[in-house]
């Protein structure tokens, strides 16, 4: 996926959906959200930042939600591709990108934007 289509994805007016309490996502862990757009993986890193990606590795579709989270990266459980949580892009030398979704935390509640 190139940068232009990514921007388009994010330009769609967001519809914010309440997901869960921040505490219901483990630190350095994730939860899976079922949505009309397919499974979405919502990650929480050590600094309590939240990220959301389509739950499919750009390599062979592995469930990223099941990977180990470190820094702002998740390692796919199937073949250890490293995916950047912020951009959805695979770490070099691998090439690929997974779709990202907007998320926010307000008053300890996690919100996910679907559009």
């Amino acid at each position: 996926m190139n940068a232009a289509t990514l921007e388009q994805d994010l330009d769609v007016a967001p519809v914010w959906k309440r997901l869960c309490d921040l505490d219901e996502i483990p630190r350095l862990g994730s939860r899976v959200v079922k949505s009309a757009a397919g499974d979405i993986a919502v990650f929480r890193n050590a600094g309590d930042e939240i990220f959301a990606l389509h739950d499919k590795c750009p390599h062979k579709g592995g469930p990223l939600s099941q990977g180990i989270v470190h820094g702002t990266t998740v390692t796919c459980p199937l073949h250890s591709w490293k995916i950047d949580l912020g951009s959805g892009a695979a770490q070099a030398p691998d090439v690929g990108c997974t779709r990202r979704f907007k998320v926010k935390v307000e008053d300890g509640l996690v919100w996910l934007a679907l559009g």
Partner: protein, 813 residues
């Protein structure tokens, strides 16, 4: 903050590698300026030979394109030679007047070819072999002239001669010593090499020295005169008689030099603001002329430039490999023999194979090989690791494939493989793809190749082959990491051994504590080091260190095996492989109720329910739990199964109650986490129907008791277990096997199977502690039982604790 200024003199492999290492760890610390005398960006000098031979082009060997300098905000001055260093004003000045201030200066001016002081040395057509300009001059000469003479039959000289011959020239090599490559080869290997080079058309004059180069009518060189009086026609003379460190600039600046710029273990010169790396540096009396040591120096130097202040360069052991297509030569270490050195020799002149390995005090100290260098990388590793080879001495000569760690499918000679031949069966990578990546991406290490091609990155069984391909492609630049000292991952400089020791001696109890104490470079590690740390903590401090689920691979977090489609497989425990109608009924019910698509028997005598959805797992476990079944740990780096044969309870040949013994062992070891998976088997007689010979611990019943075998493996590389001891009673089987497994749990490195652990520490070490020392054995056994006490079935736990349950619950919007 104002950034410091770093200036690099010498835009070559050692200097630029130092910058790369520096940018990795401290990208924003310096404003960097680079001066290079050549008009090119950094290129791979060791691949000049393939360029000369016409196998590659100059563009192929560029390591850092101009974009790289721009992207990293490095100011690059090519074609500008520095003429002076002003150490008082901290400034370097180039010949054209360009100047740059520095706070830190890195000198990497490399080496200069040694030019024989003979009449005619300055004639047109007389060149050295050092850089792109020399290579281009040779290619040009080969197109227009006929006769070439190469002075010096070292590595470089022979590669030059071979390249010129391939380009159609009539080449004679003049060499002072009695045999070619006398520093890298013994006479036997050198003679064989010379014969095969002669068969390619090269001519040799050994024990010969040049007295004069003669000019022709055009003013260009036309002949070379030897001291004996013989005259050789020569339109091109290549001087490859050695190199010397390029220290002119440093000497002029008053920096202490002695056959090279003298540096300490941090690569610092006598001026603390100035560092030196590469072929211009003299470290502990040695100047290294091969690429691999330079990379080690670069790493250390970068660490100190970044002010991390850790890491010392302690010198390198080097190996030699000649890059002449179709000829295989390898040498490393001290191979000339001598007192108290045993030489093991294999010489087959007709078959074109020569191997000599030198052994001193049960350590490999040197090796020379010609014709078959398959095991070069392995010998080099043994040499660097200073590994005790006493136990494998009798088959050392026959190589690694004989010991069981070479390529798969019987393929263990990389050179003979076609480019289209598959090397890595897991990821479908062919030899040609690997060679292409090594050349085009400028790869030097196994890790690099794994990252870029995926070859040998899954099961690892083709590692030996990939190393061979790497070694034959980059030649002397290839340096296998000394396995024992290899860092756990990119997050740390510490090896597995260091980390284990620190956790034990400093009583570290959590992952953040361990990372802090050991100065981890990343905030919370990566998917490689976190599971290792978690294991080391809980195995070293049972009941004190808390298990961290987020640092476990998904299988151990979900207590089931993830499959390619994201579903899971569930294997309930069947102690010793025994089951009951009730259990089978419960399994059948679960399979129907949760629409399990595949039900299969495993190799370890269990039933596998494949294709379960993750959110069904806790319900499946609850149903199985009602029938009394618990987790089978088919997913963990832990005790997997104890496989048994029927034994004397039913079998007419059985001598021991193997099922019963198997159940006892499995109940004892339930919930045992280990460096890697652990499989056991108990057979009731030497017919060994439970296949005890290929298990981590294999027990074989005999009439008078039990034999215990350890370190077997039926996986990637079949390894036959080694005999540990013979015992009489069931209780002793438990104690001896338990003590062995506890020793492995305490000393093994994460992801090291028992067979690899044993080959690292040696069976004798294990026997001394587990068999010969009753006190230590009892203590180990007690520590194992203590670690395992109160272990709760993870399936039951996931159903009772809400936090554990959350892992399996899906959110909906």
């Amino acid at each position: 903050m104002k950034r410091s200024k770093l200036v690099l003199i010498g835009n070559g492999m050692a200097g630029v590698r130092t910058l790369e290492e520096l940018l990795k760890i401290a990208p924003d610390m310096y404003d960097i300026t680079v001066f290079g005398a050549e008009p090119h960006p950094n290129y791979n000098r060791i691949l000049l030979s393939p360029v000369l031979a016409g196998e590659m082009t100059l563009q192929d060997i560029v390591l850092n394109e101009l974009d790289w300098y721009r992207d990293n905000n490095i100011v690059l001055h090519t074609g500008r030679k520095i003429s002076a260093i002003d150490r008082i004003k901290r400034k370097v000045i180039a010949e054209d007047g360009t100047a740059a201030d520095y706070d830190r200066l890195l000198i990497a001016t490399g080496s200069l070819p040694f030019i024989l002081p003979i009449p005619g040395k300055d004639l047109p057509g007389v060149i050295a072999y050092r850089d792109i300009a020399d290579t281009e001059a040779m290619i040009d000469a080969a197109a227009r002239h006929k006769h070439a003479v190469v002075i010096g039959a070292g590595l470089l000289g022979l590669e030059a001669a071979n390249g010129l011959a391939l380009r159609g020239m009539d080449v004679t090599v003049v060499h002072l010593a009695d045999w070619i490559m006398e520093r890298q080869l013994d006479k036997s290997a050198a003679d064989m090499l010379m014969q095969s080079l002669a068969a390619k058309g090269l001519k040799f004059r050994l024990g010969a020295s040049t007295s004069e180069l003669v000019a022709g009518e055009s003013g260009r060189v036309c002949a070379l005169k030897l001291k004996g009086g013989e005259t050789l026609p020569a339109d091109l003379v290549v001087m490859a008689a050695g190199i010397r460190p390029n220290v002119e600039l440093a000497e002029k600046a008053g920096i202490h030099c002695n056959r090279g710029i003298v540096v300490n273990d941090t690569m610092q010169t006598f001026d603390p603001r100035i560092y030196a790396v590469g072929e211009c540096a003299n470290h502990r009396g040695t100047v290294y002329g091969l690429v691999a040591p330079l990379f080690e120096q670069a790493k250390v130097c970068a660490n100190h430039l970044a002010m991390y202040g850790i890491g010392r360069y302690k010198g390198s052991v080097t190996s030699t490999k000649l890059k002449v297509t179709g000829i295989d030569v390898f040498s490393a270490g001290d191979f000339m023999g001598g007192d108290s050195v045993d030489e093991i020799l294999l010489h087959d002149p007709a078959g074109g194979v020569y191997k000599k390995i030198c052994v001193k005090d049960d350590k490999l100290v040197g090796a020379v090989m010609y014709g078959d260098t398959t095991d070069g990388a392995w010998y080099f590793q043994l040499l660097k690791d200073r590994q005790d080879i006493g136990e494998i001495r009798d088959h050392l000569m026959f190589g690694q494939s004989h010991i069981g760690d070479a390529g798969h499918a019987g393929q263990n000679k990389a050179v003979t493989m076609a480019d289209t031949a598959e090397v890595c069966g897991c990821n479908g990578v062919c030899k040609g793809t690997i060679v292409k990546a090594i050349k085009e991406q400028g790869l030097f290490t196994l890790d690099d190749v794994r990252k870029h091609t995926k070859a040998s990155s899954s099961c690892g069984s083709c590692t030996g082959l990939v190393e061979q391909i790497l070694a034959s492609t980059v030649g002397g630049a290839y340096q296998p990491a000394a396995s024992k000292d290899k860092p756990v991952c990119g997050c740390t400089e510490h090896s597995h051994g260091d980390v284990r020791t620190a956790i034990r001696e400093r009583k570290l109890l959590t992952i953040p504590d361990a990372m802090h104490a050991l100065e981890w470079k990343t905030p919370n590690g990566c998917a490689t080091c976190r599971p290792a740390l978690n294991y080391y903590l809980i195995s070293t401090w049972p009941h004190l260190a808390k298990d961290d689920p987020q640092s476990r691979f998904i299988n151990e977090r979900a207590h089931a095996n993830i499959q390619k489609d994201g579903t899971y497989s569930v294997v309930p425990r069947m102690w010793g492989g025994l089951t009951t109608p009730d259990e089978l009924r419960a399994i059948a019910d679960v399979a129907e109720k949760y629409r399990i698509p595949t039900v299969k028997c495993t190799g370890g005598q269990r039933i596998d329910l494949l294709g379960a959805k993750k959110d069904d797992l806790p319900k499946i476990w609850a149903d199985l739990g009602k029938a009394g079944m618990v987790s089978g740990h088919a997913y963990g780096k832990s005790l997997r199964t104890v496989k048994t044969c029927v034994g004397s309870e039913h079998c007419r040949f059985g001598t021991q109650r193997s099922m019963d013994m198997g159940v006892k062992l499995e109940k004892m070891l339930f919930g045992m986490w280990s460096p890697h998976k652990v499989k056991l088997a108990v057979s009731g007689c030497p017919r060994n129907c439970a296949e005890s010979g290929i298990k981590d611990v294999g027990v074989i019943g005999v009439d008078s008791g039990y034999e215990i075998y350890v370190g077997g493996n039926g996986g990637i590389k079949t390894e036959v277990a080694e005999f540990l001891c013979k015992v009489k009673s069931d209780e002793e089987v438990k104690e001896y096997s338990g003590a062995f497994l506890q020793l492995y749990r305490e000393e093994g490195f994460y992801l090291e199977r028992t067979c690899h652990y044993l080959s690292r520490v040696g069976l004798d070490h294990v026997k001394k502690i587990v068999v010969e020392d009753a006190t230590q054995r009892a203590a180990l056994y007690e520590r194992l039982l203590y670690a395992l006490q109160d272990y709760e079935d993870p399936w039951a736990e996931a159903n009772t604790k809400p936090a554990a349950r959350r892992e399996f619950e899906i959110l909906e919007v």
